[in-house]
């Protein structure tokens, strides 16, 4: 075993609600995984112990680890459980309630009793300061340092741990905020200070204030957590640097993370998209929809022309509903770059029920991990999507996840029969297939939210399915959306954790310009990009990166004068000329037409924000290799049901390794350690060199969702 100690491992740790996945790869790309129970009170303990287990398995010491990359839900949990720091807000006189009034709008209609999320900072801890900056950055009322001093005294009395400072128009002139910060830092040692002009130098006071407050609220929590984790790793002899996954899919050092703690709030789901991005690169697929189905929710995201879709329109802490960007006001605005992921409350644990109108429904309530679906045998009374999949013969009754859970088919059948089929007067298989189909329909809305809602046609993409349930549902979802190809990567259940090891250091910079594009010379734009670049260089230097390893991408947020929302348009490298600026307006028009179906001719356009992204190319990610799974054994077979059109069919059950480059016709079921892949009739499956399963979906007859009745063939669009 001594040879192993020479190896340098990279380790990823992904904390979920139930399990923490630890994954390690060596220099040859061989990967090893360990699932440990999440230690809810002190998540860091589970992470450190999990890594130690892996090291013991390798017979290696702590110094064999090159770096540890971590995806964490600590910030999200602090927000959901309201256990963040004791936070104060300092704001412009007359505007302390901007935070509480939000944008007013509520996420549902017809609700006389709607409860908005309680403000993270109570009214009494929101302090007003006499000062005013105008819309062009001009000082209308100068700041009096003495007034700040008085607030500092009150902050001290209130035992405040973290202070958010958000003054009107600070994106245009941050000088007042900076002075406030200096005085607060001088006056109160050990207190966190978050400035809106640093966290989010963008126009729109509620969104900027809310983002800054979220940052202030979670910063001390993240700091304490990361410190503890580092200490635990050090105690275990692991001196490697700790890097943290960010909501935008890049990684940063723990130190840089602390500067903008709120940027880790959505770090969990980001890793799966990064893994998808890498796989796409490896397979030469530039257009992918990632589809991650877990126990409670399903998530979709778009990779287009080799680029991950990111957004800054995001809210944290709202309950999940069917994905619609119209559903705002249920949480806290957080406008930092985040991978654009649509999420719906449909997963394996989603409960199947019948509403008052007699329609069969799935979710959003979930049976969770405990008691879980009826078939887990842990006393869960509810029929769930997993139960339906067991009844249909898709999931293997017996062991799941290497024996972590045993699925009991009789319990699944009983729950669906008693709770759904009997009251509706329908057959068991009919109901099970219906529940499966409706789960698909719900998940399709997540995919539409990132594609058709944004003017993208899903048919131009391949569907990349992962998570425990994704590969069971993906082929039928693809069929309904006329997507021709589904990719199921190796180890689909651990795919997200792999993304941690593939992410690169990334840094995002933004500055509001907000001027008519026509009135801005190329010089002004070059000037702002110059500032952003200088800021980026400073950050890179602090992170120990070298300029020559960095690549830069530039973007501009543009809109027609007067519109509420901007489109983000890529800007090429180098100094811009007048011609480049004109071309920018033209590219915006083209993109507007693509997304919204129309463009305005001769309408002036505003340049709202300029953005710069710095990426540091790490060493090339090794190709992950998986030891070949069990060889083709005696061909197993079981009955699986594929809806009214195909009925119940004796379906071969294979291992991934049984597939080859020659396509095999469905129906097939591929079973592996952490997931099940369903290849329905009229689909074919083959194994790519990368060990991914490719399912080609026959779109010839659009009958994927059991919708035809009376044996009639539906017509095509």
């Amino acid at each position: 075993m001594t040879a192993w100690t020479d190896r340098r491992y990279r380790v990823g740790a992904d904390i979920g609600g139930t399990f923490t996945d630890i994954i390690a790869i060596d220099r040859d790309g061989i990967c090893s995984v360990r699932k440990v129970p999440s230690t809810v009170v002190d998540y860091g303990r589970g992470v450190a112990e999990g890594i130690q287990h892996l090291l013991a398995q390798f017979g290696a010491g702590g110094d064999a680890i090159a770096d540890v990359i971590h995806g964490t839900t600590v910030a999200t949990n602090a927000i959901l459980e309201r256990t963040g720091a004791r936070t104060a807000l300092v704001t412009t006189e007359g505007f302390r309630d901007v935070l509480e009034l939000r944008r007013l709008r509520t996420p549902q209609l017809y609700d006389l009793f709607f409860e908005p999320p309680p403000p993270m900072v109570d009214r009494a801890r929101r302090f007003e300061l006499r000062e005013r900056v105008g819309a062009r950055g001009e000082i209308i009322i100068p700041l009096d340092d003495g007034d700040v001093g008085k607030i500092v005294a009150r902050l001290r009395n209130e035992e405040i741990q973290s202070v958010a400072v958000s003054l009107l128009h600070s994106y245009a002139n941050p000088s007042h905020e900076q002075r406030v910060a200096r005085i607060v830092r001088d006056g109160l040692e050990g207190v966190h200070v978050s400035l809106s002009a640093e966290i989010l130098p963008e126009i729109r006071e509620y969104e900027r204030t809310s983002t800054t407050v979220v940052n202030a609220y979670v910063a001390p929590i993240i700091e304490a957590y990361l410190r503890t984790l580092v200490a635990r790793l050090r105690a275990g002899g692991i001196g490697a640097p700790l890097r943290v996954m960010q909501s935008h899919g890049g990684i940063m050092s723990a130190r840089a993370t602390l500067k903008r703690a709120a940027s880790v709030v959505e770090s969990g789901p980001a890793a799966g998209v990064i893994a998808g991005f890498e796989l796409g690169r490896q397979l030469g697929l530039r257009n992918l929809i990632t589809f991650d189905m877990g126990g409670t929710t399903a998530k979709a995201s778009l990779i287009e022309e080799g680029e991950i879709s990111r957004t800054t329109e995001y809210e944290v802490g709202s309950s999940i509903s069917l994905a619609s960007p119209l559903v705002r006001g249920g949480g806290y605005a957080l406008k930092l770059p985040v991978i654009d992921i649509a999420e719906v409350g449909a997963g394996g644990g989603s409960v199947v029920w019948v509403d008052r109108g007699g329609a069969l429904k799935v979710g959003p309530r979930s049976a969770g991990a405990s008691p879980g679906p009826a078939c887990y045998g842990m006393g869960g009374p509810d029929a769930t999507v997993t139960d339906a999949n067991v009844v249909l013969g898709y999931c293997n009754p017996g062991q799941l996840a290497g024996g972590a859970v045993t699925l009991q088919a009789p319990l699944a059948r009983a729950a669906l029969q008693e709770r759904i089929a009997r009251p509706l007067g329908m057959g068991l298989l009919q109901v099970a297939y219906g529940a499966h189909t409706i789960a698909n329909v719900n998940m399709i809305r997540a995919i539409k939210a990132v594609s058709t809602y944004r003017g993208r046609d899903p048919r131009d993409f391949a569907l990349l399915a992962f998570g425990g349930g994704g590969p069971i549902h993906a082929a039928e979802i693809a069929r309904a959306l006329h997507i021709r190809r589904v990719i199921v990567p190796p180890m689909p259940g651990l795919f997200s954790a792999r993304g941690l090891l593939q992410a690169q250091p990334e840094y995002y910079f933004v500055r509001t310009v907000f001027e008519p594009l026509a009135s801005l010379g190329a010089g002004a734009i070059n000037g702002v990009y110059g500032h952003l670049l200088a800021e980026a260089m400073e950050t890179l230097a602090a992170e120990g990166g070298a300029e020559e390893d960095a690549t830069f991408q530039r973007f501009a947020d543009i809109r027609y004068a007067g519109q509420a929302y901007e489109l983000t348009i890529p800007v090429g490298p180098g100094r811009l000329t007048g011609k480049d600026v004109a071309a920018l307006a033209e590219r915006f028009g083209a993109e507007h037409e693509r997304v919204y179906g129309h463009r305005a001719v001769n309408e002036p356009v505003d340049l709202v924000n300029l953005r710069l992204v710095a990426r540091v190319a790490g060493r090339p990610a090794p190709q992950l290799r998986v030891a070949r799974a069990r060889a083709a054994g005696a061909s197993a077979e079981r009955a699986a049901h594929f809806g009214p059109r195909f009925g119940t069919v004796a379906t071969p059950v294979l291992a991934r390794g049984d597939l080859g480059a020659t396509p095999r016709c469905g129906p097939l079921i591929v079973e592996e350690y952490d997931a099940t892949v369903v290849v329905p009739p009229r689909c074919t499956a083959w194994l790519h060199d990368s060990h991914s399963i490719v399912i080609d979906v026959d779109d010839d007859r659009d009958n994927g969702d059991a919708l035809s009745e009376d044996g009639a063939e539906p017509s095509r669009a």
């Binding site: 007359g94 505007f95 309630d97 901007v98 009034l101 944008r103 007013l104 709008r105 549902q108 209609l109 017809y110 609700d111 006389l112 009793f113 709607f114 908005p116 109570d122 009214r123 819309a135 009107l168 128009h169 126009i203 729109r204 006071e205 969104e207 069917l322 619609s324 960007p325 119209l326 509403d355 008052r356 109108g357 007699g358 329609a359 007067g425 329908m426 009919q430 297939y433 189909t437 409706i438 329909v441 719900n442 809305r445 539409k448 058709t452 809602y453 907000f514 027609y560 004068a561 007067g562 509420a564 929302y565 179906g597 305005a600 309408e603 969702d705 919708l707 539906p714 095509r716 669009a717």
Partner: protein, 581 residues
């Protein structure tokens, strides 16, 4: 199967598909619109109607718009009948003869044909920044007939079998103050109905048109059946309520909205007999808008899971006397009819509070106040600033009224201050909650808000639509009214108090202050938990003086703890004196 030919699975698949379509339509408008009213305040709606005009799905938008689509579609069918063709897009805004609800709300409606047969209508409605008329914003409260309120558009083909009618675009462009915004918003509406058409056709192709029709018919029936079950559960009887609009800007009020809700078995009648006759000022509510307000009010009391389609309108009969303020006749002005719509909904809720007290909160701020400034900036370019101020709910049996939650009739958003100041010659100098303004109650009403706006243009026409000064938001079951609303020009010494509905001038450097009403309280304030009173004091939402005067809770100004003994004594004395019921 429980219903003949209806499969619960297909039912859900179709319902989900329809909901996805109307949301995608709403999103299209939101992202492509130009004006602040539409893009930031989100004052617009989208829906799908079936071939007869019944609503089969509605976007997550404005409740008061949604019940008005059937009437607009019916007018299209009546006016054009067999001449409704694929590729048509209809436009209308006129309340007299076209089904409109006031001139700024322009409907864009596209019939959807599948295989040559008319199957549906994709509908969008947006509140446009300006449609001409007396004042910028076109909601003049000084107009006395509809001709003064702007451009009237009867039901016309904006596109005739796919061909644009350039004349309509040209006439619109010349008759509105900010044509860029209006035409931009119109394009957004057109994009939305095209999205609706495309997606509906896909759904129809997947399920066959005949199947889709069967299921949408069924959805309407289900919605009706469930609404009837809900009504059946309300005790039979006649429940009456009267609420008031302070007055119109031309004659002194009040304008009374009287309603009697007769519940009989599984249907009910909402009768407005006794409501004030139509008035000269533009607060007359066209019948489709009044109906929409009634449907919306009743829907608030029903199970929210009832399918979101027009079937639930069926058991509801609205009787609005012709010539009244809730059913005005030509040529009554109606630009500011929103106020009347809000009052109608509040009257319906107030009446049914007697029947289902556990489901009805006290009155809120009364819907959004609208302030508009219009004129020309220093460069001579026209501008219109429209500000919506809203969000103070009444106390309810479930707890305190919530601050910053808009009236249930109108789910609007506010306009970012920084955006307004960057784009328009205004400076907003104050925007926040007003301590002590919530109506006292066991559960108090939400605090009202204050907004100060300074005019930076040379001069502008100022228009205000507000209410609830003489008749502030009502309390229920012993709860007190919220504090009243005010409009003040140049607050301070030399200030002028302006009427609730008014039009006038504002000059450079002058400040308009709007004080919004606070929500009404629910239940006896003497029963309010002293600890809740104390928490409001700590949160600076009420003062120590108000804690004592309104709630009989004595709080020590130094320790800020409740003086339990003094509180008990004071409350006991007040109860004995009958000071608070």
């Amino acid at each position: 199967m429980p219903q003949s030919g209806i499969d619960p699975i297909t039912l859900e698949v179709i319902q989900n598909g329809l909901a996805a379509i109307v949301d995608e339509m709403a999103l299209t408008v939101m992202r492509t619109a130009y004006s602040g009213v539409v893009k930031d305040a989100l004052d617009y709606s989208t829906a799908l109607c079936d071939r007869r005009g019944e609503v089969i799905a509605q976007g997550l938008t404005i409740v008061l718009h949604l019940g008005s689509f059937p009437s607009a579609v019916r007018h299209i069918l009546e006016a054009y009948g067999p001449r409704v063709r694929p590729g048509d897009v209809y436009i209308l805004n006129d309340p007299y003869g076209s089904g409109g609800i006031h001139l700024p709300d322009i409907y864009i409606i596209k019939p959807v044909f599948v295989g040559g047969a008319l199957e549906a209508f994709a509908c969008a409605l947006a509140h446009h920044t300006d449609v001409g008329g007396l004042v910028p914003g076109s909601n003049s409260t000084a107009a006395t007939e509809i001709f003064q309120e702007g451009l009237r558009i009867p039901t016309l083909k904006l596109f005739d079998e796919g061909v644009a009618n350039e004349a309509i675009f040209a006439i619109l462009e010349k008759n509105v103050r900010v044509p860029g915004k209006v035409l931009g918003d119109l394009r957004a509406e057109i994009a939305a109905v095209r999205t609706g058409e495309r997606e509906f056709m896909r759904l129809a192709a997947r399920h066959t048109p005949a199947t889709l029709r069967r299921y949408t018919d069924h959805l309407l029936d289900v919605s009706e059946r469930l609404a009837r079950e809900e009504i059946n559960a309300i005790p039979d009887g006649a429940y009456e309520f009267e609420t008031h609009i302070d007055g119109d800007s031309i004659e002194t009020g009040p304008v009374n909205i009287r309603v009697a809700v007769h519940v009989a078995g599984d249907s009910l009648t909402v009768d407005f007999t006794g409501t004030s006759p139509q008035v000269k000022a533009g607060i007359n509510s066209p019948l489709p808008f009044s109906e929409s307000a009634v449907y919306g009010g009743l829907r608030l009391l029903m199970d929210p899971t009832i399918p979101n389609c027009g079937g639930y309108f069926r058991p509801i009969d609205v009787r609005a006397p012709a010539g009244s303020v809730v059913h005005p006749l030509f040529p009554a002005a109606c630009g500011a009819r929103g106020i009347t719509g809000f009052r109608i909904m509040e009257a319906v809720l107030g009446a049914l509070a007697q029947a289902v007290p556990e489901r009805v909160p006290a009155d809120g701020e009364g819907g959004n106040t609208i302030i508009s400034f219009g004129g020309y900036d220093v460069q001579g370019a026209p501008f219109v600033y429209v500000d919506l101020i809203a969000g103070a709910r009444g106390g309810s049996p479930r707890g305190d009224g919530r601050e910053g939650v808009p009236h249930p009739a109108s789910n609007i958003a506010n306009t970012p201050i920084e955006i307004a100041e960057r784009e328009l010659p205004v400076r907003i100098e104050r925007y926040g909650l007003i301590p002590d303004s919530g109506g006292p109650g066991k559960y108090r009403g939400a605090l009202g808000q204050i907004r100060d706006v300074r005019c930076l243009a040379q001069e502008a026409v100022l228009q205000i639509r507000s209410d609830k000064r003489r008749f502030p938001p009502y309390g229920l079951w012993g709860g007190r009214s919220g504090s009243p609303s005010w409009n003040i020009l140049n607050p301070g010494t030399g200030q002028h108090v302006l009427p609730t509905l008014t039009m006038g001038k504002i000059r450079q450097g002058e400040v308009l202050r709007h004080v919004m009403a606070g929500g009404g309280g629910w239940g006896n304030p003497l029963e309010r938990d002293p600890d809740r009173v104390r928490r409001d004091v700590l949160d600076e939402k009420i003062t120590i003086g108000h804690a004592r005067e309104a709630y009989g809770v004595v709080i020590d100004p130094n320790t800020r703890e409740v003086d339990t003994a003094a509180t008990a004594e004071l409350r006991e004395r007040w109860r004995r004196d009958g000071r608070i019921a």
